[in-house]
Amino acid sequence: MKIKINILPEIVTKPILAEAILETGVLLNVSQAHFDRSHGEVVADVPEEVFERIRSALVSKGAVVRRLDTPIEWNEDECVECSACISVCPTKVFSLDEDYSLLVDKSKCIQCGTCVEMCPHNALALINNK
């Protein structure tokens, strides 16, 4: 499962991810990380059965942890199947079928939102994820 870890500016310089991993032994597979002056944000994969363990470790160190259980929403009525999304997706969620129909494999989605920005027809959305 995918989780998003938000790190507030006060603790952004502390190695809380490393501490939580060492403490719990849970392997976090980081797929995205963004840090700037105002906050840090990490998207990672973690096995469902150990989620609670790593969540409480991170929360105890001041992070905010949320499940990312809503992958990209594809509105087929708005979509014109242009395929603009294909070349920006880092995980190959999108592809074209032989008849040029758009195929969407949501299970690959890491919810980075790049395709949402790209889509000219507002046919892609990330809900409950900002």
């Binding site: 242009c82 070349s87 920006v88 040029y100 920005e117 027809h121």
Partner: protein, 500 residues
């Protein structure tokens, strides 16, 4: 030599014996029968395209109010339309943005809303005249309520169009979509094998007066489009059609992040096969049609061509660029293009659509000139300050403060021993260091990620960079990364003040 007339073909459409195929099907037919055999066999080839066509819009006639108004300004759902013509005529352009919603909603969205049967708020103002006394008007209209809604697109259906990529380190947002850093992706537009003008590149049958499929209904070609550059195979078409009969399956509003709105237009053009030359041209394949990949991060009209590429390569989804495999994706929909070519084929086969010969041919040898600019373009080298004072990275904060006080420069580029730029300090950075009681070396408190400019860049480009990055000065570097000057927002303000 096969010779057919348009009348013979239309007679076959009328009696139902016409042989009509799509431009995709024509490829195999010509491969099998040869151009002459194909010309004998096939009467009409249909093409199709569905992509962003910014140069699109609609002429409205709203009908007269009572008392009447001569509209001076008019807005539809807060998107301004041009009404510098007769009293209640106005042209709504696809890329005009809403005054309240900005890039989220534009002329294209008004068009799609109207086609979908939604009502639109109309607001108009006027100075009032003896014959048109009314000064303000507000009403709500649907497509049925207006007298005419004639789509007139000044430039549609590019013969081919450049593919786009981005050589900088940041994502850029363009009308070619999001372009990822370091040549991270390539985007392109156009239907390739189905592209109307690519299937009749000498404009033998496509010209003024040609009847076409436009937005799901019958439309017509007005003539050459604006910027028609036929000599370089960048032909364009001006087209018109009745928006009241159009369908949202084939006319769609679009938003390009950071650019604005555009209109996806569905168009199909039939090519009557009068002889084997026309048959041969209509058998063009994706592998035959080439375009250039341009670096859209270069802020210039003349963007460098990275390489030539065929539509076959682009459509494979992956192309080679600088020795790397790069994902390529289309902004136009080939599936829709196919659907349009198929629908037009059905219309013709059923006898609902007759083909035409142009009443005037499109010019074949035109090119698009760049703009003549009489005001002169200012370059960074003309207004930058060359008396820039730099500071060594090993100098103390105290020394930096002293230099700023003595020279009255607010920005000190920081250089390493070989005189190349490694950072920048400002008076503000020093105040901050002092307030935190940190009197260390310049190196420890400087900003390391310096936004810079080059002397041969245009001032307008650099002004936008200052604005986007939220900084007030850029060190100007030569090719060896040595600081040769500094350009500040003050320099730019003075330049614009002088111009006025």
């Amino acid at each position: 030599m096969v010779k057919k007339t348009i009348h013979e073909i239309n007679a076959k459409i009328k009696d139902g014996s016409v042989n009509v195929v799509t431009a995709e099907e024509m490829v195999d037919i010509v491969a099998e029968l040869g151009p002459e055999g194909a010309a004998r066999d096939v009467d009409v080839v249909t093409t199709g395209t569905f992509g962003a066509m910014c140069s699109s819009g609609v002429w409205f006639n709203f009908g007269h109010s009572d008392p009447p108004i001569k509209m001076q300004k008019v807005w539809m759902n807060d998107v301004e339309a041009y009404t510098g013509v007769a009293a209640v005529d106005a042209f709504l352009g696809a890329t005009q943005l809403s005054e309240s919603l900005g890039m989220e909603y534009g002329g294209a969205h008004v068009m799609e809303d109207l086609i979908r049967g939604k009502s639109v708020d109309l607001h108009a103002t006027s100075h009032g005249t003896d014959c048109y006394p009314r000064k303000v008007l507000d009403t709500t209209l649907t497509l049925d309520d207006v007298n005419q809604a004639i789509m007139v697109n000044p430039r549609n259906a590019y013969q081919t169009y450049n593919a786009a990529t981005n050589g900088t380190k940041q994502t850029i947002h363009t009308y070619m979509g999001s372009l990822l850093p370091r040549f991270g992706n390539v985007t392109y537009s156009g239907a390739g094998v189905l592209s109307p003008l690519s299937n009749d590149p000498d404009y033998r049958t496509i010209g003024t007066g040609s009847r076409i499929f436009l937005g799901g209904s019958q439309g017509y070609i007005v003539g050459q489009g604006t910027q028609h550059a036929s000599a370089g195979k960048f032909g364009t078409l001006m087209v018109q059609g009745d928006m009241k009969k159009m369908s949202a399956d084939y006319i769609r509003a679009a938003n390009f992040t950071g650019y604005g709105t555009s209109l996806y237009v569905g168009m199909g053009i039939p090519i009557p096969v009068l002889d084997e030359h026309i048959a041969k041209a209509a058998a063009v394949t994706d592998a035959d049609i080439t375009t250039n990949i341009l670096d859209y991060s270069v802020p210039s009209r003349d963007r460098p061509v990275l390489r030539k590429v065929t539509y076959a390569e682009l459509k494979s989804g992956c192309i080679e660029l600088n020795g790397k495999e790069v994902a390529a994706s289309s902004l136009s929909s080939f599936k829709k293009a196919r659907k349009i070519a198929g629908e037009l084929k059905d219309w013709i086969a059923k006898g609902d659509f007759f083909v035409t010969m142009p009443v005037e041919n499109l010019p074949v040898d035109t090119s698009a000139r760049p703009m003549k600019e009489t005001e002169g373009v200012s370059f960074v080298s003309e207004i930058m300050s060359t008396s820039v004072v730099t500071i060594d990275k090993d100098a103390s904060v105290y020394k930096a403060a002293k230099i700023i006080m003595e020279t009255a420069f607010n920005h000190l580029p920081v250089v390493s021993r070989d005189n190349s730029l490694v950072g920048i300090v400002t008076a503000w950075d020093i105040s901050k260091a002092v307030s935190q009681d940190k009197f260390d070396l310049v190196e420890d408190m400087m900003t390391r990620k310096v936004i810079t400019a080059k002397a041969d860049e245009r001032v307008d480009v650099v002004a936008r960079r200052l604005d986007l990055q939220g900084v007030s000065a850029l060190p100007v570097l030569n090719n060896e990364d040595n600081v040769i000057g500094i350009i500040t927002s003050d320099d730019i303000s003075k330049l614009f003040a002088r111009r006025r």
